[in-house]
Amino acid sequence: MPILSLQEVSKDYLTDGQPVHALSSISLNVERGEFVAMVGRSGCGKSTLLNLAGAMDFPTSGNVLLDGVATSSLKDSGLTRLHREKIGFIFQSFQLLHTLTVFENVELPLLLAGKSNPREAARERLAWVELDGLGDRYPHQLSGGQMQRVAIARALIHSPSILLADEPTGNLDTTTGGLILELLRRLTREQNTATIMATHSPEAASLANTLVRLRDGRIQEITRR
């Protein structure tokens, strides 16, 4: 069974009374260990798809199944549990909290989930992203690439089965971006997560197992390697 399954998913937004079709009948299955790159012009619906996949938003029609459970059927507490156990998010602008240290940022999801003694897990995740020893720094003391690594470590802290990355290299130079992509691909394999990444970079597309091309909210083509 695929860990993530989108079945005939559509998403409409109402803007000034006019419906905007952000996504139209999207069907897509993603397995654990699969690294999916999603490309397409700005506004084609990549972020919308990631939000649906991460159960932060819900389809207007169709179903999003996570581990076989439709996200629309879950109540607040079920959704919170889902976020805490199964999903990790990575953002273009890193979204670190500036008032927290690197350790504290990484630990945050575990603390929110009420877990005690998260420091060991945080130390381990920082080692995965090669940031050993920087745990006590504050975000503003880090470079962009380092910040994104912290964000990745944070996204992995609770060993999610799905990792959702929205243009993770968008704010980085090409070299740094390349290193981040390499890191994501390695972690997808090692941690056996299903990783879906929205991106503009052709390099990213070439690294992925699966390439999804979106256009105006529709899947134009899916290429598997």
Binding site: M56, H83, Q95, T99, L100, P109, L111
Partner: protein, 851 residues
């Protein structure tokens, strides 16, 4: 002019997008404005009115003749026989109660027979007769009748009506002979013939005041001297209405203090405007950069933010005006009750919302807003275009110079200490107020350091205790240090004022309670049912005390007599009592610390007096000094044997032996009786006996306990308005907290949305905001309590002492303080509820992706 369009688009329009926060800010200013306005209006109405009470029908005279205990009637004759063309109008001035309605009214006795003929000749401008609606020749028949009265038209009586009046301890029946219009400045009063009034009051051979109309040349001062020379030494000639001015002067401190208290809400409001504009500046940094790059000068930016504040000020004043007018109604009631029971007979005047008050409202509304917005606006104008745009939307950390500010705070604190030791200036505790202000500023400056120290502790401690939400809350408060400090500053100032006034009033109350233990040694107290007030002393029929003294079970009766007098241009109460009644005293009531027996022995049959503490303070006297009093026709000098503590009235008190008083003022009628019940006799039985013996007299009898309860009731009523002012200040602060938390939520929406991406439940987001509110409340409570304690010392030992002249003993009113602080704390957390709800309703997807 062309700048108005961008000003509207960039500054005003955004305000409408956050209606709740904008309204909260406006309302905070409006409350501040309205309180100041209410106290100003009410002060005028409550204190301005006593002027009319006794000046009713006083006409256009130049001088008045007065003396303690009443002017002997022969002085009228002396004046009339002087070879000068002066008009002489003797008056009796007292109070009567209409038996049906219990309404207390001025009772004025005029020489109607003498003046009536004068009225008949010239019709205009003359009191009573000419203004009487049914003036007719035969009306004069009644002029001298002992049961004829004339009344103000607003009372609703008509000629021929019978009215029962309670005067002193007797009820008499009168016939209304005429009605005079009392709308144009004349208060409604009861007018009767001089002789009839003297008879009703059992005050023969004396009048209260003689009004004099003198020719235009020479000057009134010259006339004053001439006439004074012709009269006995004790009788004083002075400009008409001097008493009114004296009363007004006595009320000045009371009004002045209330007015200052009313400014507290405004100070709290100032903090909040400062915060609102700071938030506005921080949020718009990139915008400021763009506008600057497009060619706006620093001055334009500065005016834009000052203009924004002015908009708040104008809107606040507009809302504050009607609100203040409304609050004034309540304030007048409270204030006039206080004026009446502590100072002088008064009836509240009308509240006038005139151009002056409108100007005041706008001046303070806009003034406070602009003044407090100036510093953040100036900061905005310093933003360089390049830097602001380069930083983009990144959070901008305000640089707070904690260490420097802490040193300044320390210096100001020391200055406050020095100022608090200085004496009063022109009778006003100006330096005391300065000390209080310095302390408030010092605490505002010390708060950033305090907040940082405490939040760093709390983030560790609370993180463990209350979980991750508390850690995040502490961190975020510490991160926006300036914003947090301003909020804590605002709330803690309000709390400090509340605490300080709470401690002061609580200490005062306790002091009074302890003091009363000694003041009311007798078992029962008796006074006439007639109209009484701080400056009215109705008397009992003579002979009554002897009857009571003869009753079985009565051990002794102490006769007390009080007069309203004037000592060196200030009103004072002169009282006497029998000093031969043996009593048991608990502890000393005197400055010297000597036992009471010893002090009273000095007074016995000698020209020695004891005076109250406020009296010595007002007149700069001390034990051993002597003072000269005008009593009847004579002036006599008395030695001050000692000074007694007195908290019953701010007006000064002079106390002497009854025999001494009778030598100068032979009226034997007592104003009060203190009755001692024999040991073994039953209080209730004796009380019933006394009630039987006093049938036919309208008297009121109180037990020791009744009087104490009554005194405390008056005390509490006096301070009710103080509490109301405190409450408004706290409400303003709490509203400010709500508004500021709302701003905080909106500015941190990205972070709040992110937390939900990272697995936070909505419950946790709500808790985060509530913990922040709770932390703000806690910090403010701690800082406020510390500042409040310091302020209370200034209030008790400097401001109160210098304004009113009494010594209050410090006392912690623990329960009241604890209760009030709990309420404030709960209110702060409550203020977080709406912002928390807003935080929960944010859509994480939208707020995280908006870049």
């Amino acid at each position: 002019m062309t700048l108005l369009v961008p000003f509207y688009r960039l500054m005003v329009r955004p305000l409408f997008r956050e209606p709740v926060r904008t309204s909260l800010t406006i309302l905070a200013i409006a409350l501040g404005v309205s309180v100041v306005l209410a106290i100003d209006l009410a002060g005028g109405a409550a204190a301005g009115s006593f002027r009319s009470s006794m000046e009713t029908l006083a006409g256009d005279n130049d001088l008045e003749v007065v003396t303690s205990g009443g002017v002997p009637e022969n002085v009228v004759g002396t004046l009339a026989t002087l070879p000068y063309p002066i008009r002489v109008s003797p008056r009796i001035e007292d109070y009567a109660v209409i038996a049906d309605t219990k309404k207390s009214l001025p009772l004025i006795g005029l020489d109607l027979v003498a003046e009536g003929s004068a009225f008949a000749q010239s019709e205009s401008q003359k009191p009573v007769a000419s203004q009487t609606q049914d003036v007719s020749e035969h009306a004069f028949e009644y002029l001298g009748d002992a049961d004829s009265i004339w009344v103000g038209s607003s009372l609703g009586y008509r000629a021929g009506d019978r009215v029962e009046l309670l005067i002193n301890d007797q009820v008499h029946s009168y016939t209304v002979r005429g009605v005079y219009p009392d709308s144009n400045g004349n208060e409604s009063a009861i007018v009767m013939d001089l002789a009839a009034a003297q008879h009703a009051l059992a005050r023969y051979g004396r009048v209260d005041r003689i009004l004099l109309k003198v020719p235009e040349t020479p000057s009134p001062e010259e006339w004053q001297q001439r006439l004074q020379a012709a009269l006995p030494a004790g009788v004083e000639v002075r400009p008409q209405g001097t008493g009114t001015n004296e009363n007004r002067r006595m009320l000045a401190a009371f009004r002045w203090n209330l007015r200052l208290l009313s400014y507290i809400s405004l100070v709290v409001g100032a903090f909040l405007i400062y915060n609102t504009i700071s938030v506005s500046v921080v949020r718009r940094r990139p915008e400021i950069g763009i506008v600057r790059a497009l060619g706006a000068s620093k001055r334009v930016i500065l005016s834009a933010f000052v203009g924004e504040a002015a908009c708040f000020g104008i809107a606040g004043a507009l809302v504050g005006l009607p609100l203040g007018r409304f609050m004034a109604t309540g304030a007048v009631r409270l204030m006039s009750a206080t004026v009446e029971s502590l100072y002088v007979s008064s009836r509240p005047g009308i509240i006038e919302l005139n151009a002056g008050s409108v100007f005041l409202a706008f001046a303070i509304g806009v003034g406070v807003a602009v003044a407090s917005a100036y510093s953040p606006a100036d900061e905005a104008s310093q933003v360089s275009p390049v830097e602001a745009m380069a930083r983009g939307r990144r959070e901008y950390d305000v640089h707070v110079q904690k260490a420097r500010d802490l040193w300044i705070a320390l210096a100001l604190g020391l200055a406050a200490g020095a100022a608090s030791r200085a004496p009063a200036i022109a009778g006003k505790p100006l330096l005391g107020y300065l000390a209080a202000i310095l302390l408030v500023v010092a605490s505002a400056l010390a708060i950033p350091a305090f907040v940082e120290a405490l939040t760093s502790v709390s983030s560790k401690l609370l993180g463990k205790l209350l979980g991750i939400e508390a850690l995040l809350a502490s961190r975020s408060l510490a991160a926006s240090l300036r914003r947090t400090s301003v909020l804590v500053g605002a709330l803690s100032t309000a709390i400090a004022m509340m605490t300080a006034v709470g401690i002061m009033v609580g200490s005062f109350r306790q002091t009074v309670v302890v003091w009363m233990e000694d003041q009311l040694p007798a078992d029962l107290y008796l006074r006439p049912a007639g109209s009484a007030a701080a400056d009215r002393h109705p008397t009992l029929s003579s002979g009554l005390e002897e009857e009571i003294a003869k009753l079985p079970g009565v051990a002794a009766v102490d006769r007390l007599r009080a007069y309203e007098i004037n000592f060196e241009n200030m009103p004072a109460t002169l009282a006497s009592a029998d000093l031969n009644v043996p009593r048991v005293y608990h502890n000393s009531d005197f400055f010297s610390g000597r036992p009471k027996e010893q002090v009273l022995a000095e007074l016995r049959d000698s020209n020695a007096v004891i005076v109250s503490e406020p009296f010595t303070y007002k007149h700069h006297l001390k034990a051993g000094d002597s003072l000269t009093l005008s009593l009847g026709e004579t002036r006599a000098t008395f030695r001050i044997a000692d000074v007694y503590y007195d908290y019953s009235s701010e007006r000064g008190g002079i106390f002497m032996d009854r025999n001494t008083m009778l030598r100068y003022l032979p009226d034997r009628a007592p104003s009060n009786l203190a009755i001692y019940v024999s040991p073994g006799a039953q209080l209730d039985v004796v009380r019933t006996e006394i009630e039987k013996a006093t049938t036919g007299h309208r008297v009121l009898m109180f037990s020791n306990r009744d009087l104490r309860a009554e005194a405390i009731r008056i005390f509490d009523r006096t301070f009710a308005i103080t509490y109301a002012l405190e409450a408004v200040a706290v409400i303003v602060a709490v509203m400010g907290i709500a508004g500021a938390l709302l701003a905080l939520v909106i500015d941190r929406r990205r972070e709040l949305g992110l937390l939900q991406f990272l697995g936070a439940a909505t419950r946790q987001v709500r808790k985060l905001i509530l913990v922040e509110a709770g932390l703000l409340g806690l910090l403010a409570n701690l800082a406020g309590l510390a500042l409040g304690f310091a302020l209370s010392l200034i209030l008790i030992y400097v401001i109160n002492k210098q304004s009113f002249g009494w010594t209050i003993r410090f006392h912690w009113p623990i329960e009241i303080l604890l209760g009030a602080l709990t309420v404030v704390y709960a209110a702060t957390v409550f203020a977080g509820l709406y912002p928390a709800q807003v935080a929960v309703r944010l859509s994480p997807v939208e707020v995280v992706h908006e870049e």
